[in-house]
Symmetry: C2
Subunit: 155 residues, 2 copies
DNA sequence: CATGAAATTATTTACCC
DNA sequence: GGGTAAATAATTTCATG
């Protein structure tokens, strides 16, 4: 990850569909060189994928919430199975497994408040491993699309 | 948003860099038709952008946390200015503005625990509008890259 | 008016310096 | 890292139902 790689990664975070030729021109290298660098970044796992960012409203997902859940027992089996089964529910956007008084934060979206309520009643209230959960409606979610590398901690 | 649009949106969420020709072939329409549909989806704001997903470790961001913050007063000025200034800190990945006992959840990443601690001391402890915050280390974060449309609530 | 086929223009990619 | 040429893709035009 030298300066050229960082510049390429930044440009692909901004717009993953711009042409390799454009990226090459912006960072000041030949298209063939740029293509090879992108291929290596992908192979090394630095670039994990390219994804379209879709408006949640257009997917009938106008209401978002964060559900803070506590589960017991905190055994590997119960934790792993909770993560996997919750992540595959259609309403779930992401699952944070965290330290602290809550065990998980689950980011969910639904058509409206009624569907959110029904979802929580059907999928959370009934789960035996969940000993408690609190739901917070999300008014706004700002996401940074372009992340800069942080300074190397060894320098 | 008919079935064809949904199929195109799903494919672009899976891999935003696949060619228009491949997408057209997979959904069973002509390339020109597909290109026009994608253009309209973009114009209508259904597709908000295309972004490379980068490994946080490669960006020297190996440690993630969620900071739940309470601020006062909860006036528009203070809320707006908190959102904007926090979102532009390099360590911040996203900011949730929420209802409930906490006012914000801030998703952050840093090089390591020491840098996370320094970041919180420098950027949170010192802010006058913050009346309290709790930090939870993230062990794991599962994100769904492909979101299906939810059933229309009117039907 | 949306679709699809063909022609033109542009980009990607493999190979060698 | 760069240059070139063949393969591939994007884009425009225009005919069709």
């Amino acid at each position: 990850m030298d300066e050229l790689d960082s510049a390429i990664v930044r440009l692909l975070q901004e717009d993953a569909r711009q042409s390799n030729r454009d990226i090459a021109r912006k960072v000041g290298i030949a298209a063939s060189t740029c293509l090879e660098r992108i291929r290596l970044l992908r192979k090394r796992g630095v670039i994990r994928g390219y994804h379209a960012d879709i408006d949640l409203g257009a997917l009938n997902r106008g209401v978002q919430a964060i559900v803070a859940a506590q589960i017991r027992p905190l055994s590997r089996d119960v934790v792993d199975s909770f993560e996997r089964s919750v992540a595959q529910l259609p309403e779930v956007l992401s699952v944070f497994t965290i330290a602290g008084s809550d065990d998980f934060l689950v980011h969910v979206s639904a058509q409206d408040i009624d569907h959110l309520h029904a979802f929580l009643l059907d999928r959370f209230t009934s789960r035996r491993e969940i000993v408690g959960f609190r739901t917070s409606i999300i008014y706004q979610h700002l996401t940074k699309q372009v992340l800069e590398p942080l300074p190397d901690p060894h320098h």
